[in-house]
Amino acid sequence: MLQIDRLARCFGARGVLADVTLQVDRGQRLALHGPNGSGKTTLLRCLLGTLTPSSGSVSVGGHRAGTRAARAATGASLAQERSFYLRLTGGENLRLFARLRGVPAAAVDALVDELALHELVAQRADRCSTGQLQQLAFVRALLGDPPLLLLDEPTRSLDADARARLWAALDRRMDAAVVFATHLDDDLAHATSVHELAR
């Protein structure tokens, strides 16, 4: 599903990622593990196609990352706290992104039911806590059941119940290829493989 070939990314003279080669198939769950600043988010952005690698290539389902076909196949949750329209409710935000992805509104309702987020979707995003926004971001990533999920520190601000719901939701999507970034050792138990990144 996901093929990363000799990917490198520099910012000016500073190399953040070098020679990353990975493959993630459907049903696999890859953890990108490393301390802050090790390039986890940078790598996820390269996979999402919002950051162009300095060299190397990323292919999603046979399509170059960032192309429309690759974007349609990818659900992502990145930098959650800054990626919502804060004056809209959680539900309005989710319905907007559902429409942009060509996903029917009923799918939003089904996901809200599945993750028990009814209160959240009625609330304006600027009145949600960081953890609540993170849960909304996770639901947004699941819209349309994309075959590739990219999750940046998905459990960072979640309480134990929300963490359990998140992993359970991923367990129900055994067909998806999942790449998640984390610096928490507890999260690694939910991965089928781990790629270590160092600063």
Partner: protein
């Protein structure tokens, strides 16, 4: 099409969420119309100042105010909308959706244009019902056509400005450029009262046929040529600006600045 509607609906909800600002917007526009109405009642015209068929200075200025709303909505609102996306952090996630960049650009332009059209309709209604604007010779189809083609003509400029915002993260110069263009091309004063060198600049501004055409449609003139000129501007600028927008997004992805503000 559904992406366009989704983005327009988003902007409607966001605008409506600022209720005071929404009301202030409409009130300010009404005051603007009233100011020119009263100016028109107390100030005489300079000798030789042609009003392009308008029955009064108020009618002349009103057409300028209405068209300026359209020009400004099409020309600068995409850039300010995208600047807002940069500041709130939503741009990266928007770009990550399976939506064409053209849909993103037109979707961002859609609500401001429709909102401008609604304001034009409101101010026209106030002018006709409350301020005695004569519409006996108005070609309403021509008015609608001029507003739409002007929107198309200036959305290209707006998309190009949005491309500049993606790269440089600044958009204020667009508002200044649009103000300057509208000022020198006869929005509020007949070109004939401006100094000769300004008249020469005003005559070649793409905003000029927009003002001339709307006045012609409102006051019994011929607007077809002006509409055709604006359609030509649209045909030229929209494809070029869409390429620029695509290049700007690619540049931001290369530089890693899509998520920066």
């Amino acid at each position: 099409m559904s992406a366009l509607a989704a983005l327009a609906r988003r902007d409607l909800l966001l605008t409506a969420s600022y209720r005071t600002g929404f009301a202030f917007d409409l009130a300010w526009g009404t005051i603007d119309v009233l100011v020119y109405y009263f100016i028109s009642r107390v100030v005489g015209l300079a000798p030789g100042a042609g009003l392009q068929g308008a029955p009064s200075y108020f009618a002349f200025a009103l057409a300028g105010i209405l068209m300026s709303l359209i020009v400004s909505s099409a020309g600068s609102e995409i850039a300010s909308g995208l600047r807002q996306e940069q500041l709130t952090g939503t741009l990266e996630l928007l770009v990550a959706q399976p939506v064409r960049s053209a849909s993103l650009a037109f979707g961002t332009a859609a609500f401001p244009f429709l909102y401008a059209l609604a304001r034009v309709a409101l101010y026209l209604a106030i002018a006709v019902a409350g301020l005695g604007l004569a519409t006996g010779s108005t070609d309403w189809l021509g008015v609608a056509a001029m507003l739409v083609v002007a929107g198309l003509a200036f959305v290209g400029l707006g998309i190009a400005a949005a491309a500049a915002v993606v790269v440089f993260k600044r958009g204020a110069i667009v508002d200044a450029a649009i103000f300057a263009m509208t000022f020198v091309s006869g929005a509020l004063f007949p070109l004939s009262v401006l100094p000769g060198w300004l008249q020469a600049i005003g005559k070649v501004m793409p905003t000029r046929p927009a003002f001339d055409g709307l006045r012609a449609a409102l006051f019994g003139g011929s607007w077809g040529t002006d509409a055709l000129v604006l359609l030509g501007v649209a045909a030229l600028t929209i494809p070029v600006s869409l390429v620029l927008f695509e290049l700007a997004l690619a540049h931001a992805k290369r530089r890693g600045t899509l998520a920066q503000y």
